[in-house]
Subunit: 205 residues, 2 copies
DNA sequence: GATTTGATGTTGACGTTGTCTAGATTCGAT
DNA sequence: ATCGAATCTAGACAACGTCAACATCAAATC
């Protein structure tokens, strides 16, 4: 029974363990020692790869943005119609947050990740640009007067807000005896409202 | 120089100190002992009023929802036109988050506040209902076919998303050489897009 | 093959943290 | 004056993140 001294893939094992801990307990109850225990290394080992807790969480956030980029571009690629692309992207955004609660919980947390990390900024911008391009395509192909930045920012804000509020909205539906709405349907309704607004000629430039 | 044994208004002093610490360091770097130090009491004193950290943060979240309710209803009261009420409420929502960053940071944090606290749930529902009522008024007075729940949820999601993303959006504007947008203007543009969508006849029921 | 170097991992120390408990203080009710 | 409860303190404890010294290992160099 021989355990090698070197783990072999510790950064990834630590990110996985971190995601697990956060998914189970929430990021507010995160513990680096718990992560190290789950990865099977000493409590100080993560420091060699990520520097400190902030470094590990920043790495997780980067991974989250990369996964987001992959998800929204893959979702968009399944459609030809730009409006359907946008709706698919919105759905992919919210679905990813549900599948990867840990990543969703850290991606926009200025207090616990390093917002100025170049890799993080690049990954965030990349995902944003993918969304912006589809919005711009809608506006161009339909000759809309709405501002692509405004519509992109509105879509992103909406999706991010929905990620955060989803449990609350589900609870409100239950409280008021409304039939539970699937995430896909809720996203579609929201995106359709936004698109209708953009199509109606509302001036935002 | 006599310091009374009893503080006299410690729960409030602790909430103020907690808000201060969170505003300065972010909620991820919150420390109950730091709060106690700032309030001038021993480290174990907050426990007598709030039980544990979770209790204190839950109390702060309640205070946040109450302030939100006060802000959005006051903003709405300055207008007669329901659409202007909605825009004013959106602006008040985002402005409050800017003025009270600590409260904004805890209000929707399921991991560190008690989401099932009856007072918290009641305060949240009260604020939500105020928004919902204005949306319903718009829909009724303009004979719109949009679903009041959907439009309310979309507005709330958008505002909440904007609260979280504001620094990122400001940074993107700067990165791309765009003229900085005032919060009021951004909120107005978003709400106008949403209202246009609702007015256009987009079916969400 | 032997040595060196740097990446990677361990161990232990330390200051800080939140929680718990026993004791102290105060105030209102009896 | 006494009692009880709310409120506060002080100390103990386990857990935490970080730091530094040391250990291990693998690749590069001689």
């Amino acid at each position: 029974m021989h355990t090698p001294y070197h783990h072999g893939d510790l950064p990834n094992a630590l990110r996985c363990a971190a995601a697990e801990v956060i998914a189970e307990k929430g990021v507010g109850n995160f513990s680096l020692r718990e992560v190290a225990r789950r990865a099977g290394v000493s409590h100080a080992a993560p420091g060699h790869h990520f520097g400190d807790v902030r470094g590990l969480l920043t790495s997780l956030a980067i991974e989250g943005f990369e996964a987001l980029y992959a998800a929204i571009t893959a979702a968009a690629a399944k459609h030809n119609d730009p409006a359907e692309k946008l709706i698919a992207m919105g759905t992919a955004y919210v679905t990813l947050a549900t599948k990867r609660p840990a990543h969703a919980q850290v991606m926009f947390r200025l207090d616990i990740v390093d917002p100025e990390d170049p890799e993080l900024m690049a990954a965030g911008l990349r995902a944003y640009t993918a969304l912006h391009d589809v919005v711009a395509e809608i506006i161009r192909s339909e000759h809309l007067s709405a501002d692509a930045d405004d519509v992109t920012n509105l879509c992103w804000s909406t999706m991010q807000g929905l990620v955060e509020l989803q449990p609350k909205l589900d609870y409100l539906d239950e409280l008021q005896g409304r039939k539970p709405i699937k995430t896909n349907d809720r996203v579609r309704r929201f995106q359709q409202l936004i698109l209708s607004g953009a199509r109606s000629g509302a001036r935002t430039r």
